[in-house]
Every structure is written in C-alpha cells, then in structure tokens.
C-alpha cells in the first residue's frame, strides 16, 4: 500500500495527539489523583501507537507501547504517579516528538530510545526506585519477565475471579488457524471482534500487538468473559473462515487459581513461544474500553484540513475581485442607473461578507503557539530550580496564519528571558519579601486592527542605570544624549543591535541577549515590541502585531494628481491647521497638538511631488500619525476617504524604497503607493 498518501494525515494527527498528551500530562502533574486525565492520556497514547504501527514506524509504536503500559498501571490504581514517572513520561514524549519531527523531515522516525524504554519497563516492574538512575540491562528485563511469567497477572485473575463470583461465564479459548491461512492478523481480529461483541477479552497470548503484526504461529489463546454459552461461542468462532479448531473451556474459580499460580504448567499448554518481556503486562483491551472513546471524547469539530497554498490562492483571487468591486461601484455611481446601483450595492455587501470569511479562514488561534509554553516553562523552572506559575489568558485570540507561523520563536525568546533572567530564585524572592512562586503572565488580546501579546513577570525588573552604562560603553547611545532619555527609552535600549553580548548576562540581569533579533523579527511582521519595567517589581514585554497581512484599512489621500494610501492603523487624527500656527524649532517645522509639540512633515517635499506643493496655501490638511508613542503630522493636499485596500508588493526589482511599504490597486485600476508611516518618524 502506498503510505505516502496517509503520511501527512499521520503527521497532523500525531502532532494533535502529542499535544494532547503533553497538555494532559501537565494537567495530571497538577492534579495527580484525577484518574480521568489518565484515561485521556491513555487513549491518546493508544491511538498514537496504533497509527504508528500501521504506518510502519516501529520505534514510535514500541515507545508508545511502553508508555501505555505505565499509564495502564496508573489507570488501574496499581501505581502512584511520582516525579520520576512524570519525568520519564515527559522524556518519552520528547523522544516521540523528535521521532515525528524526523518523519516530517522525510526520515524513518527511527531513534535510539532504549534508555527511556528501560526506565519505563522498570517503572512497570516497580523496581525503578532502587535502580532508577541505572538503565536496567535488557537481560534483567527478560529475567523479570520470566519470574512472574504466569499466564495471568494478579489484576487479570482478580477481574476473572470477580466475574465468576458475580455469575458471569469465563472461558479459556484456544483458536488454531488453518495452515493455508493468509491473513492471520485479519482472522485473529475477526475472532476478537466476535469475542468483544459477546463480552470482554481480558488477556490474550500472544498479545494483541503481536497478533496484529502476525507475530504468532497458528494458534493463540484468549481469556474472555462472555454472556453467551460455550456452544454458541464455538459456533460463532467456527463460522469465521480459515479456522481449524476452536477449544472453548469454561473456567471456574479453582481452575483459575491454578492458571494464575502455576504459570509454567499452563504455559506448556500454549503453543506460541513465550513472548518477550513486554507481554508480561497484558494488554487489557476490553470492549468497554473501546467504546469509551466514542462516548467520552468531545464532539469532534467538523473540520477539514486544507493546504495553505490553496487558501493563499483563494485570497489572491478574492483580492482581484475586491478591486473589480470598487471599480464597479465607481462605474455605477457614474452611470446613475438605479437597478445597476442596487445590484452593485448588493454585490458589495455579499463581497464584504465573503471578505470576512476568507480572512477568517486564515485566522488561527494563538493557542497553537501558546500550547507548547506551559511545558517549556515547567522544564525551564525545573532546571533553574525556580518556582514559576505561567498564566495564559486570551489563548483563543486569532491571528493570521502567516503571523502565527513566525511569532513562535520571538515569544519563546521573550519567555525564556523572563524565566531565566526576570524571575528570581526562591531564596532571592523570599529575601525581597515576595511569594516563593514567581508568576509569568502570557496574554493575548485584540485592540483595533492589532493583536497584542504581552509577557509580564513579577521578577526583579531591569536595572535602567546599568542598561544605560552598557549602552554608552557599547556605543549604542552617545554619552551626551544619555541625560535626555526617559526610563522607558532606556529600557527599550535592550532591543538595540549590538547590545547583545555574553558578558551582559552576568552584568545586568542578563537582559539583551538576542533581543534585537526578536525586534527584527517582529518588525518584519509589521509589528512592534516594547518593554516597560519597574526595578524590583517586574518587567512587561508588549508585542503588537497586525491582524492580517493582506487586506488593511487605509486613508486615501491626494498630492496633486498622485494618490497615496496611509494605513489607518497608524493614523491618530486628521485635521486642518493654519499656516501661521506652524512653529519653527531649530529650523524644523513643528505644530502644537494635544499639548505636545510634534514635527510637521511635508509629504510633497519628501516624495518630490511634481504637481503639488503646500508652500502657498494658507490652510494645510494634516494627518497625525504615530509610531509607538511618537507622533508626527504629515501635510497632504486633499483627503479622498477611507477604503479597504489589498496589499501588493512593488515586485522584486523595486525594493527598499524609503517611505513606501508597498502598493495597492485602486478602483479605477491605477496603482497607488502605500506610505510607510514608520519610515516618516525617525
């Protein structure tokens, strides 16, 4: 069978399951007594195991199998979770993740996981407490397997015993397939199907896994609890083709006792060779267990997975249509025919609904990025010996897929920074009169056309004085300018390129390592990052991101006969001022605006406009723009109005044109340039 067709599905689903495992393990760690979580984990692990085995990723399957064994014990209250088990399970998860990653990269998903497998096996045997650090040699595993090599373990025999006591029938069934049987696994599956329809399979020899992989000769044995008579069972199994013989032996308490104690004797009755150590722990795969996922699992979202390229194509086509729509609206207003105007208006409404849907298609909740952070913080805190609570809010906030793909790394960086250098050690916190456990808040929320993501911790804050000293010594700030900077301006110096060196770590609370990279990344996404900090109280990083990268609201303006678009997101206000109100400061024009004096920029001069100059006007139309908390006023000729515009690049030939961030196509088919307000404010 060509597995490639299923590979991408396998990868997507494995990732989902790994994430579910991760989340649930985290939940379990905070409430270890909650067995229902173990059930969830077990279910994910089980599905993952099945999928990997089907796809032929043996290592993945066997590691999951070992993890499942441990979880099975926990689920059945035979093992208490402790930190060693958690760590081993997490290690196992990491190994699984890297194996899946390898598969994604086109590898075979092979990996040496003997260490983890041994640890898991030790946990199952219960002797990890003695030799937990020493990976047990595989020989000892096998030896242990033979020690309690009885056919039924304690748990299974007690289940069977209880069933008999409560009046149910328990059978020992031996099935032998015909010699010519081709699909042994399929036949054995059919037998199991019959058994599970009439009752519950408690134990099979060889294990279900081995049966599924045809790792048996011709016969297998099963212990089952059933509601039907032995005769009926025999005839039902016999009705499956290619079955040679079926022996159904009813068991009573006495025979059960012999089976579980005198394992060797019973083992002789089994033709199949004794399975390796892992079968010692039988696979409890009761019918009840198999039904549960269907009942308990949350109603699956009715979703399909779509190739991101198709979405992009849809988006492009839609932007073409949007341009035509605006053109139609213009034509209709010229033609002035009522029925045409009505039709165009209706189309406009439909297309704006369509626009919302198309844009939403590309929106992904930030949770897809956030969900790996709790685990990361846990590991970091553990390795740094700090106590940290990560509080995530607004994980359902949605962002454009393109932004989501890019934002992960910068956030990891900011969070690591907060945990590593922001939050103090327990001793330091106590000495500073704070609670032992530090708190890191990770918040996401909408505001206007932007999404904000904040990382705030209650650690030691930034030492502004040292940052300034460092900045001066690194040449980031001139000594004579140092006095003019506000605290916030100083703190934001940590994003400067050239501020990141290793010796900063020991010097000033370690801030500044690679933060310039974070800023570059976020700026390239059309966003912005700032930091505010109070020394001794904590630090807050605030990342501002655009909601979408393809359609924006903009103000269209005119400079003579040229048209430009200014993104609405950076416009504070539009106004008209008198020429006489312009102040000159050091030869630069400034105006008073909301109790501040802000620079006045002439767009016509900047763009060398051939057909317009404001020189001889008495009144100026201005647009007040902002970049972060800096403001500036831009003099323009005329406002046209607000419009949704589709972002287009200027092509590969024209790049890095200062003051222009791109272009858009207006309703009349003409190209208008998009002004980059960030480049106007120095």
């Amino acid at each position: 069978m060509d597995m490639n067709a299923y590979l991408s599905m396998f990868i997507d689903e494995s990732n989902d399951h790994l994430q579910a495992l991760n989340d649930n393990l985290m939940r379990l760690e905070s409430s270890p007594e909650d067995i229902s979580i173990v059930q969830d984990i077990f279910r994910s692990a089980h599905t993952l195991k099945g999928m990997s085995a089907t796809m032929g990723f043996e290592d993945l399957a066997s590691l999951t199998h070992e993890m499942e064994n441990v979880l099975d014990l926990v689920r059945n209250d035979k093992l208490k979770m402790d930190s060693f088990i958690f760590d081993t399970l997490f290690q196992g998860l990491d190994a699984l993740e890297s194996m899946v990653e390898d598969v994604v990269q086109g590898g075979t998903g092979k990996s040496d996981v003997t260490h983890i497998v041994n640890n898991l096996a030790n946990i199952v045997k219960g002797d990890y407490k003695n030799s937990s650090t020493e990976p047990a040699a595989s020989a000892s595993t096998t030896a242990a397997g033979q020690e309690n090599g009885g056919l039924l373990d304690q748990y299974q025999s007690s289940v069977l015993k209880q069933s008999i006591q409560s009046g149910l029938q328990v059978f020992y069934i031996k099935v032998t397939l015909t010699e010519s049987c081709v699909l042994k696994a399929a036949r054995s599956y059919m037998v199991f199907d019959v058994l599970e329809n009439t009752g519950e399979v408690i134990k099979s020899e060889p294990s279900v896994e081995d049966l599924e992989q045809e790792k048996f000769d011709r016969s297998f044995t099963v212990f089952t609890i059933s509601s039907v008579s032995p005769e009926e069972l025999t005839s039902k199994i016999n009705s499956i083709s290619e079955i040679e013989t079926v022996e159904v032996l009813p068991l009573d308490e006495e025979s059960l006792a012999t089976l579980s104690s005198a394992g060797t004797q019973a083992a002789a009755a089994v033709e199949a060779p004794a399975a390796p150590a892992k079968t010692e722990k039988a696979e409890v795969k009761s019918a009840d267990e198999q039904k549960k996922p269907a009942v308990k699992a949350p109603v699956a979202n009715r979703t399909i997975r779509v190739d991101i390229d198709r979405l992009d194509a849809l988006m492009n086509l839609f932007s073409e249509m949007l341009i035509d729509r605006v053109r139609l609206e213009q034509l209709a207003s010229e033609v002035k025919r009522q029925d045409l105007t009505d039709t165009v208006e209706h189309m406009a409404r439909v297309s704006s609904d369509l626009q919302n849907i198309v844009l939403k298609l590309r929106m992904v909740p930030v949770d897809t990025v956030f969900n790996r952070f709790p685990r990361m913080i846990r590991d970091l805190a553990k390795s740094l010996d700090k106590k940290i609570d990560l509080i995530i809010t607004g994980a359902d906030t949605e962002l454009d897929r393109t932004v989501i793909d890019e934002i992960g790394d910068p956030l990891v960086h900011l969070l690591r920074n907060s945990v590593d250098h922001g939050i103090e050690t327990v001793a330091e916190r106590v000495a500073a009169g704070k609670s032992e456990t530090g708190t890191v808040h990770l918040r996401a929320f909408h505001s206007g056309n932007h999404v904000f993501i904040e990382v705030e911790e209650d650690g030691k804050g930034i030492n502004a004085k040292k940052v300034l000293e460092k900045a001066i010594s690194k040449g980031v700030v001139k000594p004579e300018d140092a006095g003019k900077l506000s605290i916030d301006e100083i703190n934001n110096l940590i994003f400067s390129a050239g501020f990141s060196t290793a010796d900063v770590i020991s010097d000033i609370s370690g801030r500044g390592v690679g933060l310039d990279v974070v800023r570059t990344k976020i700026t390239s996404l059309g966003g912005n990052v700032t930091v505010t900090s109070v020394e001794g109280k904590g630090t807050k990083f605030s990342v501002q991101l655009p909601l979408t990268l393809s359609i924006i609201s903009a103000m269209l303006i005119k400079l003579g006969d040229e048209k430009y678009a200014i993104p609405l997101s950076s416009i504070v206000e539009t106004a008209i001022i008198q020429r006489s109100s312009i102040l000159m400061v050091h030869g630069n024009p400034m105006i008073k605006f909301r109790n501040a004096v802000i620079p006045l920029i002439s767009l016509s001069k900047l763009f060398e406009s051939p057909s317009y100059s404001e020189e001889h006007e008495e009144e100026h139309e201005i647009i007040v723009i902002h970049k972060g908390d800096k403001w500036a006023a831009v003099v323009i000729d005329e406002f046209i109005g607000q419009s949704e515009i589709v972002l287009k690049t200027l092509g590969k030939y024209l790049t890095n044109i200062s003051g222009v961030s791109g272009a858009t196509i207006l309703g009349d088919g003409q190209v208008a340039l998009i002004v980059d307000p960030n480049a106007l404010i120095k």
């Binding site: 932007s319 092509g651 590969k652 030939y653 024209l654 222009v660 003409q670 340039l673």
Partner: protein, 153 residues
C-alpha cells in the same frame, strides 16, 4: 552549434533591438504609470498589469540615451528574468522573427551609445538590418542601481 531563436523586435530611436520571446511575458499599450518617489530617473514607476504591480523603466533612459516622446506606437514590453518582472517602455514593438544563433556576433565596445555589457550580441539580418540583442540580466542588474542612487545622493 546553431540554434533557431524566436526574437521580439522593438525599436528605440532609430535602432532595432531584440529580446528572446520566451523572456517576454506580454506586450501592452501605454497605460497610466504611477510614479514611485526616490528611484532613479529611468524608472518611470509602476503599472497595474492585471492585478500585479509591475515596475516600468524607460530603456533609453536606462542606457543614458535621450528619452523619446510617447506616441501611439509606444509599447510596454513586460519581461520576466531572474524571478523579476519589469516593463520596458519602447518606441515600437512590431515584429517577431526567427534568427539563427550563428548570425549573432559579439558586440563592439559601444553600440549606438550602449555599453557592450548590456548586449548579448548583434544579429545581422538581410542586407543592412542590424538587430541589437539585449542582455536582460545585466540590464536589470540591481547593484548598478544602488550605485546610481549613491551617486545621486
């Protein structure tokens, strides 16, 4: 090794030029061009080519030749080279011909005021018709524009 080449023939001033047909995406009539500030003077701006924004340059200007007037014969030839799409404003585009790669000669240092590096060669067609073959990657060389910008500043 001789090879048949299909070439689009266009005229600037009184010279005839050729570009291999597989590098030409489309030939358009003159259309409104949006000026892009702070670019070299031979870059006339950008046009809307069916939803795609394409920069347009005046070839004469690119070669530091005097720019000619726009007439009804003026065309924009859009070429695609090295993943870049650029339109050339030319005085006329009137022919597609087949030529043999053998008849293309290495150009002398300067042909009609154009430096040899912008040319692939000169094809002699018939008695006294010369076709100047353009070296598009060199014409669209961006590092040169950067140098130009530095000179202008």
């Amino acid at each position: 090794m001789s090879e048949e080449l299909k070439v689009i023939v266009f005229g600037i001033a009184n010279e005839e030029y050729g570009i291999e047909v597989d590098k030409v995406r489309t030939i358009e009539r003159m259309m409104p061009i949006t000026r892009v500030p702070k670019t070299p003077s031979f870059i006339k701006g950008v046009i809307n080519l069916r939803g795609i924004v394409v920069p347009v340059m005046n070839l004469s200007g690119r070669f530091n030749l005097p720019e000619t007037e726009v007439t009804e014969h003026t065309r924009i030839i859009v070429v695609a080279v090295n993943e870049m799409e650029v339109g050339f404003i030319v005085d006329s585009a009137n022919d597609v011909i087949d030529i043999d790669s053998d008849i293309i000669d290495t150009p002398p240092e300067i042909v009609g005021g154009i430096q040899a590096k912008y040319l692939d060669g000169i094809a002699k067609i018939g008695e006294d018709r010369l076709l100047i073959m353009l070296n598009l990657s060199e014409v669209l060389n961006k590092s040169e524009i950067v140098q130009l910008e530095q000179l202008e500043v």
